[in-house]
Amino acid sequence: MENPVKVDPINSLNDFVIKFANVNGTGSASANQMFAKSIFRMGIPISPKNIFPSNIQGLPTWFEVRVNNKGYLGSRGGVDIAVAMNPQTYSQDVKEISEGGYLLYDSTWKRNFNRDDITILEIPLTQLCVDSFTNAKQRALFKNIAYVGALSPLLEIEYEVLEKLISEQFVNKPALIEPNIKALNIGRDYVLKNLPYPIGINVKREDKLKDKILVSGNDACGLGAVYGGATFCSWYPITPSTSVAEGFEKYASKYRVDSQTGKNNYISVQAEDELAAVGMAIGANWNGARGFTATSGPGISLMSEFLGLAYFAEVPLVLFNIQRGGPSTGMPTRTQQSDILSCAYASHGDTKHVLLFPEDPQECFEFSAEAFNLAERLQTPVFVISDLDIGMNDWVTDKFEWDDEQKYDRGKVLKAEDLDQMDNFGRYLDVDDDGICYRTYPGTHPEKGAFFTRGTSHDEYARYTENGDINEQTLTRLVKKFRTASELVPDPIINLSEKPGSSGVIFYGSTSAAMYEAKDILNENNIEVDLMRIRSFPFNLDVWEFIENHDLIYVIEQNRDSQMRTLIMAEGGISAEKLRSLVWFNGDPIQAKFIAKKIYERESQQALIT
């Protein structure tokens, strides 16, 4: 090392943040993912995050991996090691590195970074690849694999793990294994010959990930839809939801093709727009197939008219909303939780919708499958509301589980033999007094059970009516149905502290990871809080009881206007003073330090030094 470092280099085992700065479209993603997976395979918890532009080629992109042996999976902030591969962003990338941190860069073109408090690791990656590969494309591509190879001795990543990942990745293209291994060795050998290794930041095998998997939320949603019995998917491409449909297609094409006929027991239609996407899914559900669509904020705006129809005509529907930064086109590749209200009350007129808030991919899988039961039981749209952070990043999560004994709930559907026994079928008759009526699929019975589905006001027999009293009855029954829904949707997860009179905290979705860590920080600083993670809307009695039992509650959200707080206030008549809004909406995943600091300052009336 040429530069004398004036600050002690960071020494840390299995606890650090590494950030890769790349140019998008250069093939860095798979190398970076391989790096993350190698740490995962060594049994150490990681949380990788893609920070990418809305662009295909040429713009800066980052990949950040937090390695944390305590299992904190939220974004930490700060960078301990930067792998800077994009000269365009050198100044920003170098500036971010913590004191005592490390910088690895492509020293084919040497630079002076004017930081004497960090360790600079120079590897002429471009030159090494030019010397070793003749093909121009390979020269560019293998730079990425080479820096992963270099990190192996520097951080003490088990080399065999990397080799195995390469052979797994190219199991169907064995010709690519050898050049990838060669690239790995180029980086590794350079370090072995030229640099002191290991550095102060290391990884060491642990056994913390038994029964854990590494998967993205969108992949999990797609798989959940296959397990939940979806046969119909219609979608329109939009970041960050596209990979939900892709995930469904990936698993369905593997597990849903009839082994005898080779026919597809599913269909996925790329629609012409979001209006058609949701319309098709409604048409499929009306006809008795489990259908869904996946979208993001702008799609919700476009789908709103149809959502009102499905609500009022009482057609089941599952909709995945993978939220991104709004408003308008906003920040398509950044994360937020800013569609809570637009989903809860989507469409004109008095409408309310069932919402589910998974916190991680495991819950994405579970809620995705369950959403189809709820939609058919309740005969209404059910939204699975995730976000870019959960959806497009890989997460260490509990492995997926499925109970083969559990049967699909297809809801109140009359078959021909049921209709034979009946004299008086009315599509919107509330026979069971739970607000949910009986429906029939088209083509069920030669004489009975036909009705006219419509978005116009209708009576109990689905006939058009302009009688205001009847319409009022219908709208009132839908409120009753919503109350029934509150008994069926997932309960909140409540975690009370030992100290009576503690303040409450409400959070949901991707805020969980940061919140669990923030709670530990607060506890270390002698602040106790009671947690309630909301998992669904409508809110059930447990939610109202928690709110009732606390004088002060922090509502933590990743949007500007504290939308969940507004929803709680609107639905429960809760006073504004009781619910303290704590928001983060810069588009990056929320951080534990932020939450802990805000709550600590409020609770202790003094600043938190972390």
Binding site: N265, G279, A450, F452
Partner: protein, 350 residues
Amino acid sequence: MSYFKPINKHPNLEKNKLGLTRRDYEGGVSTLCAGCGHDSISACIIEACFRLNIEAYKVAKLSGIGCSSKAPAYFLNASHGFNSVHGRMPSIATGANCANEDLLYLGVSGDGDSASIGIGQFIHAIRRQVNMVYFVENNGTYGLTKGQFSATNDLESKNKYGEDNLFPPIDLTSMAIQMGASYVARSFSGDRDQLVPLIMGAIQHKGFALLDIISPCVTFNNHDSSTKSYDYIRNHNEAMGKTDFVPLGEEIKTNYDEGSSVEVKLHDGSRLSLEKTDHNFDPTDAGNSLELIRKKNKEGKIITGLLYVDNKCKPLTEIMDLPDKPLNTLEQEELCPGSEVLEEINKGLS
């Protein structure tokens, strides 16, 4: 309001092979204006279904919003209906069709629905070759909102208040042929003899069938300066020659001179026999059809009849390799891969 008719069964009414009379194919009492072309079309749909011995409960009637979209309530009471949102019936039909292709899908739409607000869904349903009959009850005006111009109204055709139309019309038949519709006909609500066989052919056709039917609006677009009035259509209708629907196993009864008729075989083996007024016309040649429509438009004529047919097209469900068994009948055992497979998936993710 929906009004239901009293059912009076007359013992001598003609019965079809199912033992049903035309009355069994009726719907509620129409609330459209007296003389509305749409009611004539409903009557033709009833006639076509009666003659084809269709089981009404195996039909799904779908529509958007507008006068035309009310029509499904006025035929086939035993069928499920779906009156969706403005211009969005094609997407509902697409989803429904994929869920169960065993039903017959009759989509009823208007020129506002299909040529304006829903033109995108309309052309994409065509492009995907959704297996359905798509009726456009075309009157050149927005009836339900009281007489605004629609996008199919001819440039020279004024509205009821004498105002000029500033924009040229969209010709739905040429557009549909260009988008890949596999059965395209134009007709006139007042020409029952022509319309009924065209509907029968469309029902038996497998693929997207468009029936663009000029259907005068008696209240808002039936005046002297309208080109979609009864009088105007009668005076400018150039019918292509008689179309006969020949059910499977029956002989062609009409005798045409050699070379003056063409036969189109439909999916189920039934046939359409078309009298040719122009000996060079080939209804299976899209270029030929487009040229004919263009030529007649230029001459100020409204060409009606079967304009184009492609009986070899693959419908959406075939393109997507769907099973013979409808998706909506698949059971959990066929749909859920189960816990053992999930364990394998877990392994692949660890």
